[in-house]
């Protein structure tokens, strides 16, 4: 019931603006989104910590820097306090970001890669391919993911690479289902048939015609996955199944979880760091989604 007037602007005025390059146009839309800019700033902060943290604050995060349970802001040697062993929290934050963020991004990338591939194939081809891939997805879905990841990590050595792969291997199912639904919906649209009628093959149709239009929900879900993956790594660390020789924010939370009542700062500061990262990723993801939507261009 859109009795509301056609929202198309008069083409003449729009023509000049639309002629700009897609990249600049996208940046223009992105820039207008204040939340996305905040997200970008947060991510910049995280990146700065990852890059420069160890150089600016060269303290061994595993070293015993002071008395255990030193409260934050009381001892200049350990500005953010120390944990139950006396390790420097600030050093952990400065160094642990690298592992945490890398694992989060890499695991999210793997998740999206597997999920979108499986979902796209199932949704595009349907029939027996769909049947097979959907069963496979369900198989992975019914396995308790943490347990399954634990099995994978214990089968191999608990290195960060294995942890990343394990997280990717257990969390792609949601993305696959989402991608499948989007591909099923979009492949039925007439513009896909139009390009098919010109002789385009399935690969081109999937990559050039369907995928760009399926991106909005996938981008949003990918940003959520970064957060989940970071927390997942924390969970594995807590169980002692991540690499114990590499400091990560998750490892800090995991190690100090038992002392949360006596030593809140040892979990709060790395928790805040994770929160800031996840928030930044999701705000930027939101902004990107807008930026690549031509409907929001020039207005």
């Amino acid at each position: 019931m859109s009795a509301f007037p056609d929202s198309a602007p008069s083409p003449d005025t729009a023509a000049a603006e639309a002629a700009r390059s897609p990249g600049r146009e996208a940046w223009r839309v992105f820039r207008r989104n204040k939340a996305a800019l905040l997200g970008l700033a947060l991510l910049g902060l995280v990146a700065l910590v990852m890059l420069l943290g160890p150089t600016l604050y060269p303290v061994d995060p595993f070293g015993l820097a002071s008395q255990p349970f030193t409260e934050p802001f009381t001892n200049a040697a350990v500005p953010l306090g120390s944990d139950y062993l006396g390790r420097d929290i600030l050093a952990g934050i400065a160094v642990g970001g690298r592992a945490t963020v890398t694992v989060g991004l890499a695991a999210a990338a793997i998740t999206v890669l597997i999920g979108v591939t499986v979902g796209a194939l199932a949704g595009y081809f349907q029939g027996w391919a769909d049947e097979l891939l959907t069963r496979l997805t369900e198989l992975f879905q019914v396995l308790p993911s943490l347990l399954f990841a634990m099995v994978l990590v214990t089968l191999f050595s608990p290195s960060l690479t294995v942890v990343t792969l394990a997280i990717g291997a257990v969390s792609w199912t949601t993305t696959a289902r989402l991608a499948r639904a989007e591909f099923m919906r979009l492949r039925r649209l007439e513009y896909v048939n139009a390009v098919r009628a010109m002789g385009a093959g399935p690969l081109r149709l999937m990559l050039r015609e369907v995928l760009p239009n399926a991106l909005p929900p996938l981008i949003v879900s990918a940003t959520l996955i970064v957060g989940t993956a970071i927390l997942f790594e924390a969970g594995l660390s807590f169980l002692g199944l991540s690499d114990p020789n590499v400091m990560s924010w998750g490892l800090m939370i995991g190690a100090n979880r038992a002392y949360i009542l006596d030593c809140w700062w040892a979990v709060t500061f790395p928790g805040l760091a994770i929160f800031v990262t996840v928030l930044g990723v999701s705000l930027v993801g939101d902004g990107l989604n807008d930026a690549f939507n031509p409907r929001l261009h020039q207005r």
Binding site: P11, D12, A14, L189
Partner: protein, 346 residues
């Protein structure tokens, strides 16, 4: 160019015994829907052939099968003598330049993330028209040919009105100089004022480029305006086929008559006075076809034979084909005496 080709010339498109069956209830199920059932017709070069019917009549499915966007179960689709229904792979890809399609919904038939000119350019690239260097100019020429302005080239689909979008769709379809253009309800989604613009454009392009149209519509006014020959479909089968004037002046199949009398009359004084055939109920689903004539259940004139035996499409006069037991070989409709049923209004 627009005049119908002489009878001796071979038709551009010759469809013989086309069947499209769908499996329902998943890929393992054996239940089948006969969406298109033994459809045959031919279109002379440079003419327009209309396919009319209600939803579920199989007219769009026929179009998709001819376009090779849907696998047909049996039958021949000869384009200029070649059975394009048998082509595969590269042979099919290169044959696709010769037949293109215009879709119903101009809001769904353009990629929302592609600029208008890129949509046309993509068609040129995909079908390898001309040289890559010349394609930008070709795309611009196509754009102008369908009546779009140069400054609109870089806009996205949502910035166009429905009629303008349908012009882009036409430009895309014409990119490779096709001979046959299959139009599936190309103006149904448009406002009447805009419909006229697009219909006039299509006629002009046909004249200029010698195009052959397979034109699918539920709108009898549009069909009558545009088509040289018309086939009426019901439940996947053609029930009547004739040149335009014959079909509109003297329809023989009861369904054709019902369709004609259901279309609103523009002469408001005529209303209610006309002798009308009113049908009860909706078109049935092609899921479980009755054994006899598919129309028998709604036909006011059906007799026992109609319910038992399926009528074949017979040739009555030189050009008129009808599938009805109650029309005899001399093209007399025997049911015309059943006046009681004629005035039956729901």
């Amino acid at each position: 160019m627009n005049a119908p080709a002489p009878q001796t010339a071979p038709p551009l498109l010759d469809v013989q015994g086309l069947h499209v069956h769908f499996n329902t209830g998943g890929w393992r199920s054996r239940a089948q829907v006969h969406a298109v059932d033994d459809v045959s017709f031919a279109i002379a070069r440079g003419t327009t052939f209309g396919l009319v019917g209600e939803s579920g009549s199989g007219k769009s499915t026929t179009a998709l099968a001819i376009m090779r966007l849907l696998q047909h179960s049996a039958g021949e689709i000869r384009l200029d003598g070649t059975d394009i229904g048998r082509l595969r792979g590269t042979a099919l890809r290169s044959a696709r330049r010769r037949f293109q399609m215009v879709f119903q919904d101009p809001f769904a038939s353009l990629n929302p993330r592609k600029r208008a000119i890129d949509t046309v350019r993509e068609a040129l690239d995909l079908m390898a028209v001309g040289t890559p260097d010349g394609r930008a100019a070709q795309a611009a020429a196509l754009f102008a040919q369908v009546g779009l302005r140069a400054e609109q080239r870089n806009l996205f689909p949502h910035q166009f009105s429905g009629g303008q979008r349908q012009r882009i769709v036409l430009a895309r379809a014409l990119a490779a100089h096709p001979e046959l253009v299959v139009c599936d309800e190309p103006v149904s989604a448009l406002d009447v004022a805009i419909q006229a613009q697009i219909l006039n454009l299509m006629k002009r392009l046909q004249r200029e480029l010698g195009l052959t149209y397979l034109f699918i519509s539920h709108d009898l006014g549009v069909i009558r305006h545009l088509c040289d020959e018309v086939a009426v479909m019901y439940l996947g089968r053609i029930v009547e086929r004739a040149p335009r004037e014959t079909l509109f002046e003297r329809p023989l199949h009861p369904y054709t008559r019902a369709l004609w009398s259901a279309a609103p009359s523009f002469d408001s004084r005529e209303r209610g006075r006309e002798r009308r055939i009113r049908l009860n109920g909706d078109p049935p689903s092609p899921l479980d076809l009755p054994p006899g004539c598919g129309f028998a259940a709604r036909c006011p004139f059906a007799n026992a034979r109609c319910h038992a035996e399926r009528p074949a499409l017979r040739r009555l006069t030189a050009h008129q084909h009808v599938a009805c037991h109650r029309v005899d070989d001399d093209a007399r409709a025997h049911y015309e005496n059943d006046t009681a049923a004629c005035t039956n209004s729901a």
